[in-house]
């Protein structure tokens, strides 16, 4: 069990890395995109651009958060 946990931890650190919010944000954006695609709410091209914009926003929020935390560190 200990080895299994260590194995899982390794792959989590390897792929998800330092800020889990990026992974959570990307998965959420893609899941919402998939729902919008299934519902045929928007054209494919517009949806692709909107999803990409949301992914960029996820990264911006993550780096701004890191900057804010660093600036407010005692």
């Amino acid at each position: 069990m200990r080895y299994l946990r260590a194995f899982g931890r390794f792959w989590f650190d390897f792929i998800v890395g330092e800020d889990w919010r990026i992974a959570a944000g990307v998965v959420t954006v893609l899941a919402l995109g998939a729902l919008a695609l299934r519902a045929e709410l928007l054209s494919d091209s517009l949806l692709a651009v909107l999803i990409a914009t949301a992914i960029v926003a996820v990264v911006v929020v993550s780096v701004v958060g890191a900057g804010y935390r660093s600036a407010n560190r005692p």
Partner: protein, 255 residues
Amino acid sequence: MTSSQAGLLTAVFLASAVEFVEAFTIVLAMGVTRGWRSTLWGAAAGIATLAVVTAVAGYALVQWLPESALQLAVGTLLLIFGLQWLRKAILRAAGLKSLHDEEEAFREEREAALRAGREERMGLDWFAFVVSFKAVLLEGLEVVFIVITFGVNADSVPLAAAGAGAAGLLVLVSGAILHRPLARVPENTLKFAVGLLLATFGTFWAVEGLGFVTQSQASLDWPGGDAAILGLLAVWSAVSYLAVLALRRTVRAAV
């Protein structure tokens, strides 16, 4: 060669070069401090393990997942991995994370190697073997991950593997000639470039792969087709540059 293949080759070559330089520094530190025999056995064992992992993971992915699902799953993994890489590069460039320094890394590894006791197993200096094995395996795993994700998505695994192989050969030959850490390689700049490429291709393929959820299961179309890759690269570059500027200002204001 298409623009997509050229981007793939560039990204894999640069990413692999950076990882190989880091692995080389550790192997060199072990070799000159603890002796080459155990160090090279460790590196060889790391390469052999990587080869098995690549063969098993590559075969399993291609055999068990339908193509569109593969594009979505692998694209999403590459995107998450690439965005972490880009995030670290932005924080490094803004001064919020320390820059990678091969000379410093070499000194630290060398000191650790000098401090460590001597334990023999299977006729090998176990410390040199394990450190060398882990360095090659861990740095190499990132290369394997990038080769498989890029190769599978662009349907060019041999091209991706060739890019990684060329980078490995270049680092090995340069290292053998210089016999010192490759500190003059602009690693932090390369890492930024790789982060931009991983984020660009990751976004492109993950969004394309969403077509898996439709009835036709066909890839989602980007406006402009493959040309959208250049647009994405421009957007990621501009956003990263602005983020670095804004973060530097935040850091200066806080001092």
